[in-house]
Amino acid sequence: MSAEVLPYTIKPHPVTGLYNGKFGVWLFLASEVMLFGALFSTYIFLRIGAPETGPAAWPSGEETHLSWKIGGLNTLILILSSVTMVLAWVQFKMDNFGKGRLYLAITAILAIAFVAIKFKFEYAHKFHMDIVPSTSVFFAIYYTMTGLHALHIIGGVVVICYFIGPGAKLWDQNREYYTNRIECTGLYWHFVDLVWIFLFPILYLL
């Protein structure tokens, strides 16, 4: 089925005010909220159930071996990448393909930086200290949540790189379609940022 035959692939629906892709992405994000919601629920459930003292007690401060400095740096990187993402969309919207692509590239670089820091300075460091998911429930949920989040980042990077590279051909065929897709990618990207905003305090600070 080619894109032109299906209604509202590019132009918004007159009643709902949405093109299909945007609505689809929002629905997808709704399911993502529930996915991470289950992990947050797990976090709360396990934390409430943890004993006050003893080896199974919930770690705090130094015991977590998590550096708020690295976490904070990553938070800033991710927020910045959100800004560049939305600026990329603005540039496409204003027909500045070159600038838009540049912002996309910056976003991708920031995202890669985030993942690199995560793996090099956090995971590798902890593995070196023999802190693995099975060490305690706290590290289990830490690795699961941040790992799943990192997978989302990597997925986002792949999509962004696609739109910088081979996907950019669409710009020549249909600018609005391309810009729409960037908007959808952006929505996803901001959501990933939003998840991190919650992960940072509950894992690194509390």
Binding site: M1, S2, A3, E4, V5, L6, P7, Y8, T9, H13, T16, L18, N20, F23, G24, L27, F28, A30, S31, E32, V33, M34, L35, F36, G37, A38, L39, S41, T42, F45, L46, G49, A50, P55, A56, V132, P133, S134, T135, S136, V137, A140, I141, Y143, T144, L148
Partner: protein, 581 residues
């Protein structure tokens, strides 16, 4: 892609990796029916062990190998695998893909006048991810230790310490969940965005409404199970303790390699947060099919169409806050149990409303007893029994005696087996002519119906007595208990019913394949129905409609006074309906 319609796509693009919702719908249908049959076969094997515990299975006992059935006698681990996989296959690989993947995919875009689903490639991906999930599940039978054997609910710690089949089960589930999520996004966008001109929400066929609500349930309820699946995979593969408390001693050995600190109940919460809405995923589209068939065969508008829609919305909403009634026995205090028992009682009301509306729809109709109608009619009392027997299970005090007994098995099988699966048969008989352009043979259909109806009741009705007698479910051999031994005769009866039910499907299987080539050819609208799918040619071409239809009225305008025919299709103008004589 844009130039595709100028030349015929290759065979692979057309029939294997097709993006056409109709091809994908048929792919889903064939695959899911095969799984349904497989799940049924697993159950027929189990029924032998249940009826004749420890006896050699005749004829086929030796083909399962020494690891599963040494000397033709089933081992408990194989029995448990069969049980777990029967549930998994029936629900996640059979019924849901049939209702949503097959019927939803095929019929829904036609009913809303759309040329295809909103995201055709996503649709294709959804099918293939489901297919991979199915392959993973089947493969798991052949790994050491056999397939998952901790029940379809996979409660940890048992599932955490189970054999490798459980890991395969989890990977399979992750695939199936992903497939459902992709599908549900697609369905919602299609229903909201792609309706043709004039087709307002309250002119939608009830089936489309049911699909819409179902998609929301899948969208929001499935992710927690995906997360839970990831957590269990972590427990099994990375040695974490999400579901394992401290101080576990398995077979006398203290589990020192785990850190502890987790909770087995966490899994149950995440699992049932999905699995209760899942019950409505299994039943709502079935109600949709039944509503279509009943309206068509009573030649009369559905009674209380709007009330049914509001009830369905309410059902969907409430289904998210009743899950812990599956957990009454896990150590629940008075307050939480009161909350969940109350929501459970509340959720029964919209079900009663829908069922009542469907029965009153019969009143003053002109009922044609076609094969799809028979299945749809049989659905009603079966669903009523299934629903009513949920009542004692929803009352925590009565649940003390009935929880995890055969009563539960009887209850939910009445909802999904003679309930949903009858609706599926109704749908197959009803839409087969649309899909193939040929009718299914009705003589074979009547035989199929009457024997299925009798035997399915012989299978499941005894379970209520067994449950009342206190026999636990999932017992490899219930005769070890005095109360189980006393009702063993019912088990035997149930088993014979199941095997006879298997035989009763033979006319259907023959019918299904032969009619594809030898069935009576039909026009666009053999049932004289009103909804849009009957405007398209049978079978509909790529792109569905020759011209985009416009809708003028609600979905069930049958026997309108003053009209020339006893049905006014949605796409025909009012003048045209009354002018022709």
């Amino acid at each position: 892609m844009s130039g595709d319609h100028h030349h015929e796509p290759s065979f692979i693009r057309k029939y294997v990796f097709s993006v056409d919702h109709k091809v994908i719908g048929v792919q889903y249908g064939i695959t899911a029916l095969s799984f349904l049959f497989l799940g049924f076969c697993l159950m027929m094997l189990m029924r032998w062990q249940l009826a004749y515990p420890g006896e050699k299975m005749p004829y086929i006992g030796n083909i399962f190998g020494e690891a599963a059935m040494p000397g033709g006698v089933m081992l408990p681990e194989f029995y448990n695998s069969l049980g777990a996989m029967h549930g998994t296959i029936m629900i996640f690989l059979g019924v849901v893909p049939l209702l949503v993947g097959a019927f939803g995919n095929y019929v829904m875009p036609l009913q809303i006048g759309a040329p295809d689903m909103a995201f055709p490639k996503l649709n294709m991906m959804s099918y293939w991810v489901y297919f991979v999930g199915g392959v993973v599940m089947i493969t798991s039978f052949f790994v050491p230790g056999g397939a998952a054997n901790s029940g379809w609910t996979s409660y940890p710690p048992l599932s955490d310490i189970a054999t490798a089949g459980q890991t395969w089960w989890l990977f399979g589930m992750v695939c199936l969940i992903t497939s459902s999520l992709l599908g549900s996004v697609n369905f919602i966008v299609t229903i909201i965005q792609l309706r043709v001109e004039g087709l307002t929400m309250f002119r939608l066929p009830f089936f489309v409404w049911a699909q819409l609500i179902t998609s929301f349930l899948l969208l929001l309820a499935f992710p927690p199970l995906e997360a839970a699946g990831v957590l269990q995979l972590m427990d099994r593969l990375a040695g974490t303790s999400f579901f394992l408390p401290e101080g576990l001693v398995v077979s006398g050995v203290l589990q020192t390699q785990i850190s502890g600190g987790g909770s087995p109940l966490l899994w149950q919460h995440l699992f049932w947060f999905l699995a209760h809405p899942e019950v409505y995923v299994l039943i709502l589209p079935a109600l949709g099919i039944v509503a279509e068939v009943i309206a068509n065969n009573t030649r009369k508008p559905l009674w209380g169409y709007r009330a049914m829609i509001y009830s369905t919305i309410f059902l969907g909403f409430m289904s998210f806050i009743v899950w812990a009634h599956h957990m009454f026995m896990t150590g629940m205090g008075t307050k939480i149990s009161a909350f969940f028992a109350t929501t459970t009682m509340i959720i029964s009301i919209p079900s009663v409303v829908i069922l009542t509306a469907l029965v009153i729809s019969l009143y003053q109709g002109a009922i044609r007893f076609t094969v799809p109608m028979l299945f749809a009619l049989a659905f009603l009392p079966m669903f009523a029994i299934g629903g009513l027997t949920g009542l004692p299970l929803g009352l925590p005090a009565a649940d003390i005696h009935l929880h995890d007994t055969y009563y539960v098995i009887g209850h939910f099988h009445y909802v999904v087996a003679p309930g949903t699966i009858f609706a599926i048969f109704a749908g197959i008989y009803f839409w087969y002519p649309k899909v193939t352009g040929r009718m299914l043979n009705s003589t074979l259909g009547y035989i199929h119906f009457f024997f299925s109806f009798i035997f399915i009741n012989i299978v499941f009705m005894p379970m209520f007595w067994q449950g009342m007698a206190g026999v636990s479910r999932r017992l490899y051999n219930q005769t070890v208990y005095a109360h189980g031994d006393a009702v063993q005769s019912l088990t035997v009866m149930s088993s014979w019913g199941a095997w006879m039910l298997g035989l009763a499907q033979i006319p259907f299987i023959i019918n299904f394949f032969i009619s594809r080539f030898a069935g009576k050819k039909v026009s666009n609208n053999p049932w004289h129905a009103t909804t849009l799918e009957w405007l398209a040619p049978s079978p509909p071409p790529h792109g569905n409609f020759e011209t985009v239809p416009v809708v003028y009225r609600g979905p069930y305008e049958y026997s309108v006074p003053g009209a020339s025919e006893d049905f006014n299709p949605q796409h025909v103008t009012t003048e045209a309906c009354s002018s022709v004589s």
